[in-house]
Symmetry: C2
Subunit: 433 residues, 2 copies
């Protein structure tokens, strides 16, 4: 018999059908036992009135894998408005023991490290699942937005020859007897590919040997990267970044509506034009409001980002705010300066609810500019020979941005720790599961 998902039950009232899933919970009353079955679509209710069958079901450990054939009956009390009567129950797999987590509770209250240790079973909790449904919808929305704008998806190597972006925080490996490194970003490759496809994106893992044990740092995360050519300046990049975020929100609406509801997520409204403030103006504002002396500071502290997030909500009714023109000293060597004020860059961060979500900007595109930028930092062009080929042989003005998927999902779902938005996080001490 064809299997039906529990969230389709109401469409089959009056029919005999088969459900399949996990024994999520049971409630035994005097006359009736309710068995709650969990499948990928949600929770469904099975009604058992036969005392012998109720005894048998009482012996099932939570997470017993079942198929259940029965009659679908409309019921206002049942989840989804229908339930299964007269069940025939078959055990597909019995757990070796009851799980150490009560998955039927509305939320899991244990400490995060223990929750992460038990991820293979903890992730089965409906709230945990909802977080990662949101993640899957977000990455699909990113791709859809860029596909619709003429971007080509690329796949670039994660094993690289040199610790290019910055010497620090890089994982080293033995590559057939030679030193190699895990890529901290696809930056050089996505720029190179602008010379090929003009507009490219990549969704894949990046690796940072972060020595910090904080709620914001993990050592492997999923970076949603885009890069585009033939721009006027960073504002063209900001426009695409805005569209990417809007696409992510749209797809979360469409694909993860149940998760949004279960987690009580408030999705942001993405304005057609996200408000923007220059770094220098932002510093002035913060200094005026707080009395802090910031004129020597080349970056915004987390507290300043939070302040700006509140300001944007108050002044622009927006949960999103671009901060542009970060000082060149704080940006990587490939950053394009602001031609009018060369101490500032044609770069931006996008703050979402007071937290940096996206970093991006215009890049240098002339070969000579790269040679000068590397010389100014005392770096040898020979170490960047492959990368420099792209610029040596003609590159248009271009720029790009990157979104940390887990950071986005954490912010969206209200997770206090980025590890809650990562299936199997990696950090200073955690390498399993």
């Amino acid at each position: 018999m064809q299997r039906v998902l529990v969230d389709e039950l109401a469409h089959h009232v009056g029919e005999q059908i088969t459900l399949a899933g996990w024994a999520h919970r049971q409630r035994r009353l005097s006359q009736v036992t309710f068995l709650i079955l969990r499948d990928r679509s949600g929770l469904g209710q099975v009604v058992i009135t036969d005392p012998a069958q109720a005894d048998e079901v009482a012996g099932f450990a939570p997470e017993t894998v079942l198929t259940i054939t029965g009659d679908v009956v409309a019921s206002a009390q049942a989840p989804g408005g229908a339930e299964l009567h007269n069940p025939e129950i078959q055990v597909l797999a019995a757990p070796a023991e009851a799980p150490p987590i009560e998955l039927w509770r509305p939320s899991l209250s244990m400490q995060l490290p223990r929750l992460l240790d038990l991820a293979p079973v903890a992730l089965r909790h409906p709230r945990q699942r909802a977080v990662f449904h949101t993640s899957a919808a977000s990455i699909a929305g990113f791709r859809a937005a860029l596909d619709a704008r003429g971007f080509t998806e690329i796949q670039t190597p994660k094993i690289v020859a040199s610790a290019t972006e910055s010497g620090a925080n890089v994982f080293a490996l033995d590559y057939f007897g030679r030193p190699a490194y895990l890529a901290q970003s696809p930056q050089f490759y996505k720029q190179t590919m602008v010379g090929v496809f003009e507009r490219v994106y990549e969704t894949g893992p990046v690796f940072r040997a972060e020595p910090h044990d904080t709620p914001r740092h993990i050592s492997e995360y999923v970076s949603l990267d885009a890069e585009l050519g033939f721009i006027t300046d960073h504002r063209d990049v900001m426009s695409v970044a805005r569209d990417a975020v809007a696409g992510m929100v749209d797809e979360v609406h469409v694909r993860a509506a149940a998760a949004v509801s279960a987690l009580e997520i408030t999705l942001p409204l993405v304005p057609a034009e996200i408000p923007a403030i220059h770094f220098a103006d932002a510093q002035h504002l913060i200094a005026s409001a707080t009395g802090e002396r910031l004129d020597e500071e080349p970056d915004l502290a987390p507290a300043h980002e939070r302040w700006l997030g509140e300001w944007a909500l108050r002044e622009h009714n927006s949960e999103l705010l671009f901060v542009t023109g970060y000082p060149m000293v704080k940006r990587p060597f490939y950053t394009h300066p602001d031609p009018a004020r060369p101490e500032f860059s044609n770069s931006f961060d996008l703050l979402f609810r007071g937290l940096e979500l996206i970093t991006g900007g215009q890049r240098l595109h002339r070969y000579d500019d790269y040679l000068a930028a590397l010389a100014a930092r005392g770096q040898a062009p020979a170490d960047y020979a492959s990368y420099l080929q792209a610029f040596k042989f003609g590159m248009p003005p271009h720029g790009g941005f990157a979104i940390g998927l887990e950071r986005w999902v954490a912010r969206l779902t209200g997770a206090a720790n980025i590890r809650e938005a990562t299936l199997f996080p990696r950090d200073l001490t955690r390498l399993a599961p």
Copy 2:
């Protein structure tokens, strides 16, 4: 002025518009110079009749980045049926030198290692671009087919604690002073996630420290992985694998039509049911036809796969053939045996034009079966503790498969070497670009 792509020129006849791209080629005749501009959509023709302007253009190195404003005129001779007259040309970026590759030639004739060394510029060749348009369309088709079938996309870690699938061919790294490894596949994680979402897929890099220098091996590739629960046996997995391949072919049709045409690709017809032959029957057939003694062989040699590819085409008019039931001895420990003939497995390979494209099968799902399988191989369950959680706490019958993206693209585009289907390949000797 709004930029127009060269493949849209014919829609703008009679208008003044702006093109942007790279100086791909020029042909100077006595009265006229034809400048061929390459952008992400293809090649467009610009007609220069002013001798002074022709002189200026003659000084452009190939790959000079230009914007060109002019009048669109219908022309039967021009690519796409229209060309640009009365051009005003602006140089956006001049190459530091002419590239060492003549990108205007119909195909690149240099040796592969040199081509790979020059990838940042060689990939700009229209034929090279077409290969990777095919790749992008294929991966999109894989996702679309599985999205439509209730699968959830997942992102699992590439840094793992143990060299799990097989001890050999694994890259080791220093993880904050501890040993760690690069994942050879997402196998354990995708199985674990069947317990969460029932049906999952992942598209991401996998790493094999392949000590072989062959046209078929690279040490980092993109694996298209799927895994699904509540199956009867491996045939349910084969059905989804068939749909995934059909989805890839469909999306190559839709998204990469120009690439298919440029590369003269013949896309396979994917039968509603791909023919299947049992491993033992396949050996009988080959032995009868060739006189080889194969009864002691637990696997098919590449020559046997080619023979079967020809047989399937001849007997079933199919370029795709499932071989099922490989001997257990050649399959990993998590493989589910054929209950009727336990020396054979509920596994399959999918051959595409005589080459293995997909490996898949049913997995063990009972905790005790895992303990027995590990014991039989002399492995300690403690080394697999995280993975075994999934089975300890209730897993349905499940199975899955993996497709090597580069292998698929190589076979589809007729590339003799998998490196031709990889943007920046990694192998025994190659770590750059």
